[in-house]
Symmetry: C4
Subunit: 202 residues, 4 copies
Amino acid sequence: MRTNRLEAISDGVLAIIITIMVLELKVPTGHHLSDLIHTTGVGLLTYLLSFLYVGIYWNNHHHMFHLVRRVSGAALWANLALLFCLSLLPFTTAWLSESHYDRTPVIVYGLNLLAAAVAYLILQTTIIRQEGDESPLRQAVGSDVKAKVSNGLLLAGVLSAVAITPNGHVGVWIALACYIGVAIIWIIPDRRIDRLVHQHEA
Amino acid sequence: MRTNRLEAISDGVLAIIITIMVLELKVPTGHHLSDLIHTTGVGLLTYLLSFLYVGIYWNNHHHMFHLVRRVSGAALWANLALLFCLSLLPFTTAWLSESHYDRTPVIVYGLNLLAAAVAYLILQTTIIRQEGDESPLRQAVGSDVKAKVSNGLLLAGVLSAVAITPNGHVGVWIALACYIGVAIIWIIPDRRIDRLVHQHEA
Amino acid sequence: MRTNRLEAISDGVLAIIITIMVLELKVPTGHHLSDLIHTTGVGLLTYLLSFLYVGIYWNNHHHMFHLVRRVSGAALWANLALLFCLSLLPFTTAWLSESHYDRTPVIVYGLNLLAAAVAYLILQTTIIRQEGDESPLRQAVGSDVKAKVSNGLLLAGVLSAVAITPNGHVGVWIALACYIGVAIIWIIPDRRIDRLVHQHEA
Amino acid sequence: MRTNRLEAISDGVLAIIITIMVLELKVPTGHHLSDLIHTTGVGLLTYLLSFLYVGIYWNNHHHMFHLVRRVSGAALWANLALLFCLSLLPFTTAWLSESHYDRTPVIVYGLNLLAAAVAYLILQTTIIRQEGDESPLRQAVGSDVKAKVSNGLLLAGVLSAVAITPNGHVGVWIALACYIGVAIIWIIPDRRIDRLVHQHEA
């Protein structure tokens, strides 16, 4: 199967996820700046974080399928699993911001990010298995240090929010720092693939 | 008419259906795991089922149009009828989960799935009639045992929820088992078409 | 400008309009068939009508741009004007069904359909002016009897709802009959263009 | 990276932004024309303004990428930043119309438009830097008087709403006039690029 429709449905779902998260931002009832900050401040920051994550997945998805021409039925379902995980993000984002970063929503949000990361890994592995070890994607991914580090960070974040119970706030802030840190790591696009695409086309 | 825009509108509508179902998930009012399970548990499971069905239709649609180059006006409308049936899914899904699987919503949800199945069959028949008996799609579909079995199962599910009245719960659980069973049957992509595409291109 | 992105944004907006109208369907509070019919019956019928109209516009848009390769800046804005009119349809549909076909919402809905029809005509005229009298689209459109009849019917519907005041209900039902009649006229795809496309490619 | 998926995600997000703004239009509770005007009048006008802005950005985006074949990773993120700014428009639009053009929402709406304008400028600059001074886009943009004037107007609008405090209404109306004026300036598509595309292809 060619990848054009897989890319189309993925672009569609990601575009909608990004945009419907805005529907969760509550319009302030008052008309002053303090109302905006009070009602929407937390929601806006959380939206920015989730927007970055969806943007990162779109970016990496885009880079990955740049090196792939055909996909098997298994890859179609692995891709749908990734989209399913990401489609829950508007929900976990809404709970996170509505609770003003309470412990359980922070953990659930982190688990959502972890689930998406695992789904992405499965998708990547499925495609590489089908393309073979000589494929450009296989070489571009390499030892995939960046993914390992960021998944470790996400896991550490979730665990710290779960484990640090005496004073819940500390664990929560470590978790949030981990989530933000991972986003920062990935905003820089994957230069390994960029470079390979360059070589590949040269 | 070439199929590219038909595929574009279908991808668009399916992507949106998948994603707006998340908007029906209510954010828990409390901030504990029990609140999440209590408020959203049923909704999440139902969303997963509906997501699978939309994913299955997208997958089969994708496979079918891989073998078709041009469509008639009748096929455009048959496709819109399919999209109409699927577009009702967020609504019937919301009622199903809001009612915690009460009898009437379970029947209505099943009828919605059946209507989509019939619309898909009409679309497939319309295209095959236009392409002729020698067409690759005709040969790929074959005797279409899988569709017959799954449509029979859906019908059996709806009927059992309608008919088993002394103790309503039994009929409802049989119906839900049928709906889930059909989803499992179809998650495995249609290897007949996969194989044919392979031959066709070889 | 090539037409591919114009078609992409149009497909996107039309797909979303179709699907968000479902969000206006209220989930019944009870769990019986009577609750469904009472709460959602009118909404469902109105949604079907609006779905048909959006489907018709998509269909005709698809047929028209099949004969066009390039568009001017004016056509881009004429197309956006059409999308604006159609984007109001979820709103007028919601009011129509919420009011159970009261007089003013019926008139406003009709005006919305008329506005879309006029915008479509402007788009078509803009493109024909740019393509010239020898263009395939010009010949396909011909004297455009179908559009004239259906626009006349829409206008007649709106006027009857406005004018027949002694017993408001009569005017309203005439209007609804006109709106449904126009939909039926257009469900049959435009064979003139179908035929021409055929000739054009032969 | 080729630009097709960047255009796809942008078309998707812009199409959804345009359409979900309609969801913010409240359906009147009464069924008379006065109810419509009272409940939705302001919302409809504000929606029209925001629709125009999104249309303008789509139009200019379309024109710009007509002259670009490949984009770097930096341009992908600059484009996502633009989409982020525009995705906030449904929120600021809702606040603006809900407040019936109160001072703070007018300022926030203007800041949103300014942020989008700056993001667009950054995107354009990123692409030009990558394409070089001899690129068709560089020549098409020229000294970019139109962008400078309109950004100046937006800034003037925001500042007048901020500064003119003795009688708040005057500043607000100047601001709104500036926002509307900028929309009018841009509805006329960018003939510089139109012309260059023509030369480029001749």
